[in-house]
Amino acid sequence: MSSSKRSGREAAATAAARLPRQDWARIWLLVVLLVLVIAFAWEGFWRARGFVPNLSDDLGIWAMVRRRVSQQGDGVVLVGASRIQLGINPQAFAEVSGQRPLMLAIDGSSPLPVLEELAADQRFCGLVLVSLTPMHLAQPLGRDRAVKWVRRYPRQQWSQRLETRLSMAVQGRLVLRSTSLAPEQLWQHWREGSRPTMFYAPMQPDRSRAADFSRVDLERMRRSRAEREAELHGRVASLSGLAFEERIAHLRSLAETIRERGGRVVFVRFPSDGAVLALEQRDWPRARYWDPFAARVGTLAIHFQDDPRLSHFTTPDGSHLRGEDAVRFSRILAGILEEEHILRDRE
């Protein structure tokens, strides 16, 4: 038997003749009915417990904002990790500065890859606010999520852009698409005997987050944050003296590159307190890292402890501002930038 005939016979044995033929009308009727009823009940159940739709942060949404940065060219851009993502309220910042900043912060990542990429983008001539933690200053760059996103975003195809928009549209409307209610999360809660709670810092479409610490067990969170920081500090080897000098020189050259195109870079040390601040002070003392950096980086570097308007802010988990404080902090920071002629200079 020829191969084509043989494979033809195999195909015939797999095809339409085997179709389950009966009962489709009532099957689909029951399916549609049950899916609608259960989905609505599930949605209503969690909404009644305070859940609201929540976007999940990913490369697609970040890339969307990044493209907007290039289109605007001279806008205000926020770079860093979770401290700036929770610490700046774009609306409040815009009320004072007249410019709504674009959020390019990536949770848990170093700001360096994004800053390097902005410096390399000839179309960009705006203001970059970079949130630096002591660890960002002292750690070597590793396999950071920011490195991956910066490398991947220019390769995004139209279908991925469309997927991001569709996902945002669905996630922004349905609680049942929240990651905190995903089956694996519910399974985890069930095993631990705990109840799912609304994520304390849901992401907005502009990628900013407003933290509501009343949703969490603060004592537990504070403890786990300090433990995580301690573990992170243990894992990250500090840069040697020479490497640290090179880091400062590198940041200075990036700031200069952007300034040559008419832009500015401002480094900001966001508030931390309690055990987290103590750990930061122990492992990367300000006098040894921040102060030399601020003196030699060649652009404005704002430390929250240096300005009485910023130093009184507290962070419930030791590391992040609460939503309402982020509003005040953003206004104050925008005011400081005005005073320093950073915003006006660029105009």
Partner: protein, 471 residues
């Protein structure tokens, strides 16, 4: 564009709507062709040119082969087709691998050759559509098929979006006749097509990506720290993951095509219920194994009267089959292991078949378990990041070091899923999935679809690519 995306949902809804417009069949085929190219362009638009090049070349080569009066002419046009298709595959898929090995070879002779690092992106699905398109020219060359007169039909055969990037690898004789008369799914076909699409997505999104992939990823990423339970559970998790991932894709492809009225061949038939490796390869990635059988194993001589020759043919076919999966020696080794198992089976099976033992259900089920166990060992080489990691995991399997990477709950999760999968495949050995589905009461069928839809609706949608896209 992947099946488990909202973009595909939108795209497919539009394709279906256009397919049901009162237009001529030629227009509808044109729409499907355009949709297929759009589907492929979603990954990397310039690569649609490769697809087009392969299509145009094979269409004309097949016609030229048919028209050539001399065997030299026929051979020439076949070589053009083979050269172009395999050449593209060699450049895009095996370019870096060949260069790397060439450099190593030269180094053996003391020649220091440092080539520029080629920055080649693998066009998604190139191995699938190349084999599919090649089968057409090979069939025409072997006079088993006449060249198809319509370029539109042929272009649709090569690029038909449901199976374009990860199979099943369809033969021209199966697909092209379906292009002659208008295809439109009847309600029964449409319902079963949608059901297959939903069940395929559940296999991919829930079973493969949610329940198994995180565990296998964790173990294979830390192979050097794995204890014996980690190594076994990680390997079992990957065995399940790769089946659900690939079978999920094939099921979606078959379902999607059926919604449009097209019938694609099965690609899997309960492979983990196989008794022996010959049986396994008649159940796993059937469209590839039958391709390799028809266009490689049989032309090499197939089951020759000389036993040695048969064994060489078998091993060569499996080695090339391994290489088809990826440009790395670990895939070749994986193919070689399968070849070795097949050789042993080839040598032992005549005496076993003749004995009464072959009819004992206890022996048969034990052999199925043995087959599964040996298969799992081959998956270690398929999945591990290189040979040393693979050896490390195999050593860990017999080390009796305590588990450090996986919790007791996760062990239970993987064991339960693996046992259910094995039991289902054993039950399905002689039954089609359609038979099993039809044997449920209608409420049971509805409930299965409802649960699947709800699971898909609430899953967070981790965007892992289908494993076979990289091949």
């Amino acid at each position: 564009m992947v099946f488990n995306s909202l973009t595909f949902l939108l795209f497919f809804a539009l394709v279906l709507a256009l397919h049901h417009l009162p237009l001529s069949w030629t227009w509808k085929k044109g729409q499907l062709l355009l949709a297929s190219y759009l589907f492929y362009a979603a990954w990397n638009p310039p690569f649609t040119l490769l697809l087009l090049l392969s299509t145009v070349t094979d269409f004309h080569c097949a016609a030229a082969i048919h028209q050539s009066r001399s065997s030299t002419g026929r051979r020439f046009w076949l070589l053009v087709s083979l050269g172009l298709n395999l050449g593209l595959l060699a450049i895009f898929k095996y370019g870096s691998f060949l260069l790397e090995n060439w450099t190593l070879l030269l180094a053996q002779f003391g020649i220091d050759f440092t080539p520029l690092a080629p920055d080649i992106i693998l066009p998604v699905g190139i191995s699938f559509y190349t084999f599919q398109s090649l089968s057409y020219t090979l069939d025409v060359y072997r006079r088993q098929l006449k060249p198809w007169p319509s370029f539109l039909d042929f272009a649709m055969f090569v690029s038909f979006f449901p199976q374009l990037v990860a199979g099943p690898i369809v033969r021209a004789a199966e697909f092209l006749p379906q292009c002659v008369l208008p295809r439109r799914a009847n309600p029964c076909q449409f319902s079963w097509g949608v059901t297959l699409l939903i069940l395929g997505l559940v296999q991919k999104v829930i079973l493969a990506d949610l329940l198994l992939a995180p565990l296998s990823d964790r173990v294979f990423a830390a192979a050097f720290q794995a204890g014996w339970a980690d190594a076994w559970i990680g390997t079992l998790a990957f065995s399940g993951q790769i089946f659900f991932d690939f079978n999920g894709y094939s099921t979606c492809a078959i379902g999607t095509a059926l919604c449009l009225g097209f019938v694609l061949p099965d690609n899997f038939r309960a492979p983990y219920g196989a008794i022996g490796f010959r049986d396994f390869w008649q159940r796993w990635h059937i469209s590839l194994s039958s391709w390799l059988r028809d266009y490689l194993y049989i032309p090499l001589g197939g089951r020759s009267s000389r036993r040695g020759r048969t064994l060489v043919n078998l091993m060569l076919t499996m080695l090339i089959g391994g290489l088809w999966h990826g440009a790395a020696w670990s895939f070749v080794f994986w193919g070689g292991l399968h070849g070795l198992y097949l050789l042993v089976e080839h040598l032992l099976s005549p005496s076993f078949q003749a004995s009464a033992l072959s009819r004992s259900s206890l022996v048969r089920s034990s052999l199925a378990l043995l087959t599964y166990g040996l298969l799992c060992l081959t998956w270690v080489f398929f999945r591990a990041e290189g040979f040393s990691a693979a050896w490390q995991l195999l050593l860990a399997m017999v080390s009796f070091q305590p588990a450090t990477l996986i919790s007791a709950g996760e062990i239970c999760q993987v064991l339960t899923l693996s046992l259910c999968l094995l039991a289902f495949h054993w039950y399905r050995r002689q039954r089609s999935f359609e038979e099993v589905f039809a044997s449920f009461p209608w409420q049971g069928r509805a409930l299965l679809i409802v649960l699947s839809l709800l699971a898909l609706l609430v899953s967070s949608g981790d965007d892992r690519a289908f494993i076979y896209f990289q091949f």
